[in-house]
Symmetry: C2
Subunit: 107 residues, 2 copies
DNA sequence: TTGACTAGACACTAAATGGTGTCATATAAT
DNA sequence: ATTATATGACACCATTTAGTGTCTAGTCAA
């Protein structure tokens, strides 16, 4: 699982709360090394590293070696797929008008 | 796991492709019984039923007993949480302007 | 009333997930 | 030169997941 460059499902990547918080941290800090990210969680460095690998394989994170540390940065582009997907369902929850709207559109 | 009414994470619910297709089918058909949903997949009825339970626990699906069949319908409202979450990251991928925009907003 | 159909409940299994600890290596600092 | 730091690579483990099959019960139709 370590260096699986195959495509990773972005939906799976964001399913875990730890990984969502990692994305948030990287959104706020531009670029962070592993040990600094790890400090925000109640788990070991290895576990955080694995989560970052999953994010990396999903294309949501970029890694850059800088001296002895590896700096991670956010790459949000793949989230657009999620946004497009969820947008399809928007009419279904908006103001309980979904059914009526779709009924009208059919005619 | 069968009747776990506890809150289920909506992110976990949509992480599985089978479950996303279930949502799509229910979006198109308004209301469908289990056996009819099952016909669209290459897996047994029990497996599909379990997926529906996960969707139900996440609040994404409503079940109604009708005679000997159980009819399922979409309830998209919980997806709004996902939409709000992903919207936060929109500026990060739009036109590669994200960095510049946020830089300007900080000043 | 008998028989077919729909679904729930349960037991089971293989594989994936999310964590741990340890070891080796490269880099930085004293 | 030595020591401390940062990370990657493994091996390992417990739990969850996603599927299976079987049995039972309720409902519909002949």
């Amino acid at each position: 699982m370590s260096h699986n460059n195959q495509e990773r499902d972005v939906y799976v990547a964001i399913a875990d709360p730890t990984r969502r918080q990692l994305l948030r941290l990287l959104a706020e800090a531009e670029e962070l090394p592993l040990h600094e990210l790890t400090a925000h969680f109640h788990m070991g460095r290895t576990a955080v590293s694995k989560h970052l690998t999953i994010l990396k394989d999903a294309g949501l994170v970029l890694a850059r070696k800088d001296g002895r540390e590896t700096k991670y940065r956010l790459h949000a582009a793949p989230l657009q797929e999620v946004q497009d997907w969820v947008a399809f369902y928007e009419s279904f929850w908006k103001q309980r008008m979904g059914q009526l709207q779709r009924l009208l559109e059919e005619n």
